[in-house]
């Protein structure tokens, strides 16, 4: 894809981009992946702890413990976001703190906190899903397609 884009550029730009790329600081892929693995794994580990606690001490089964676990994780995220810690974790961990549901929570909560200066209705209400909205939109739409195909196959294909 990147190559295709480059072909449409004048030669001087192509030459410069190659020139620039040699001097660009590369993203430390291996280091980033290790950090993402450790932090992401740790967040999931905490999630498992919380979920186990819900199973042991409350009336939740493995099936139903997922929801309160998510809510608890997002609550913790709210505190970390509000006290300005989550963005530091994010800079360190990259996808490790973005991919778990805490990253979804952080996207929503940080947008809500940020846009409060524009008022609660237009600022918070209007921007709360500024970042996380696309996740919901594509999640719902792809789930719709998948479920539709599956339902049709089951009903008419006798799957």
């Amino acid at each position: 894809m990147a190559d295709k884009k480059k072909k449409n550029l004048p030669p001087s730009s192509q030459e410069y981009q190659a020139f620039q790329q040699q001097r660009e600081v590369k993203r430390p892929l291996l280091k980033n992946c290790i950090k993402a693995f450790l932090v992401g794994g740790f967040i999931c580990f905490i999630g498992q702890l919380i979920s186990t606690a819900y199973i042991y001490f409350f009336d939740f089964t493995e099936q139903t413990a997922g929801n309160p676990t998510t809510a608890t994780l997002i609550f913790i995220t709210m505190l970390l976001t509000g006290f300005g810690i989550y963005d530091r974790i994010g800079q360190f961990a990259g996808a490790g703190s973005a991919v778990p549901v805490t990253g979804f929570g952080n996207a929503v909560i940080s947008a809500a906190i940020e846009h409060r200066t524009e008022g609660f209705v237009l600022g918070v209400g209007g921007n709360i899903f500024k970042l996380a909205g696309s996740v919901i939109v594509f999640g719902v739409f792809s789930a719709f397609i998948v479920a539709l195909i599956k339902t049709i196959l089951i009903q008419w294909g006798g799957l």
């Binding site: 993203r27 609550f75 778990p100």
Partner: protein, 116 residues
């Protein structure tokens, strides 16, 4: 055992996300959207539930499980009501993540200021 595998599987899903960030230069928005779609598709093939059975929170905490549970809700309702259920059942299972995010987002906006 489940704790170990939750760590490993959750970590691996995050590494996939990191590779999408760094190698394919995708924004977090693109990356998370793709992961959600992947979760939905995996569940379409019945592959995500076994992963949850195996890795517990390692599979339910990453955002991929959001796509999975959307499909689950839709399928559960579709069994009862047919094709209409695909639309109406979508949020049956997933509502907690979104509602928690909205509620705590609002509370956060009430009590916190950005720290910069």
């Amino acid at each position: 055992m489940i704790f170990f595998w939750a760590f490993v599987v959750g970590g691996i899903i995050c590494v996939i996300g990191q590779i999408m960030f760094d190698v394919f230069k995708l924004t977090p928005g693109h990356t998370l959207s793709i992961l959600v779609v992947v979760g939905a598709i995996l569940d379409g093939f019945g592959l995500y539930e076994p992963l949850i059975d195996f890795a517990g929170a390692g599979a339910t905490v990453p955002i991929t499980s959001f796509g999975n549970s959307l499909v689950h809700g839709a399928m559960a309702e579709a069994e009862k009501h047919g094709l209409v259920g695909v639309i109406t059942g979508m949020f049956e299972v997933t509502s907690s993540g979104i509602s928690a995010a909205i509620i705590f987002g609002m509370i956060g906006a009430l009590i916190f200021k950005p720290k910069g």
